[in-house]
């Protein structure tokens, strides 16, 4: 199971990196950035996974007896933070992209910055 998770998240990271490096449309670049971010988040959670692990929520005395079998809660907490940061990045960059379209009259990242 762990191998499936890690390989799938790494593949997402590489596909997203390819997109960021080769695409020229700004919206496509931002989508690719989001794909990388999803991949990294999955990688972090997969690092905390153990085979046959339990959800880290205490429901009864039975779950307190099985604390060693629970998956690692710290990467999940970090990923909760990083998802929200990703939303912030996307929102800010999209607003900049709309203004970029207004000022440059183009949605390609290669448009020149000089006037005229």
């Amino acid at each position: 199971m762990t191998k499936v998770f890690i390989l799938s998240s790494l593949s997402l990271v590489f596909v997203g990196l390819y997109g960021v490096l080769t695409r020229k449309n700004i919206v496509k670049i931002l989508i690719a950035l989001n794909i990388i971010e999803t991949g990294i988040n999955m990688l972090l959670v997969a690092f905390g996974y153990i085979e046959g692990g339990l959800t880290p929520i205490l429901q009864s005395d039975l779950s307190i007896a099985n604390l060693d079998k629970m998956v690692d809660p710290v990467p999940q907490a970090l990923v909760l933070t990083s998802i929200v940061i990703g939303l912030g990045t996307t929102a800010f960059a999209l607003a900049l992209a709309i203004r970029y379209k207004n000022t440059h009259n183009s949605n390609l990242i290669t448009a020149t910055d000089e006037e005229g």
Binding site: V74, F92, Y100
Partner: protein
Amino acid sequence: MNSVVFLVVIPLIAAFLSLFLETKNKIIMYLVTFFNLLFTIFIFKSGCIPFNVAIGGWKAPYGINFVVTDITIYFLLLVNTAAVISITLVKDIKEYQFYSFYFVLLAATNGMVLTGDMFNFYLFTELSTFAIAGLVAYKRDRLSTGAALKFLILSSTASLFSLASIGLIYKTLGTLNFADIAVKLPSLNQASFNLILILFLSSMLVELKIFPFNLWVVKSYEGSITSVNMFTHGMLGTAGIYGAVRILLIVFPNMYKTNISTILMILSFMTVIIGEVGALKEKI
């Protein structure tokens, strides 16, 4: 000395308050910046350095903590002095967003110098990135919009690499505290060490404006107003240098065959040469 957290908390509260105080923002800006400088001098004079602040009462490797050492206090003085000097250049600006960005940048640079936790450092760098991007885009014309967009895309890609390296550190060593990482790092494999180091270095180079990633600097300096340039160089540059010095040379010391000082020296040498060549080619 638990009250050192005020250096971060007071500017953040001011960032919220600046949504309402329309014309008084400038006074608040001077007040908060001078408060930070005076508080730093007070800590410097108090004579209880070095000390360690556990936020929330959780002790060092388990919670987030602020570390103040002899080097930290000097860099803190530098950052706050740079802030005081650069706000004198701020002319009459009416938009409250400018002041909010400034307060967040002040808090983020103070925090980058103070923090002793890996993920907290990542968050402070993100915070400073967004504040700088907003300040660069302040003029909202053709040049500044392009510069801000390119800077934002570059630095968020870089910060994702540093997030991956934080995950690798947590998986192998099981901790996020700087001091704890430095103790446990010698038990790591050479290849794993190199991978973590490469991922982290590539993200730090953007903040430090070193060669392969320094192309955003020219555009953003051209596109933004003078005081923003002072912020970028005086505050973010100083804090970034301290963060890099601590993380690269204290947390990741020169071990095995990887000599970080040599790599950094070669890269900065190339930065100087290529930057000068680029400046000569620029038409006046």
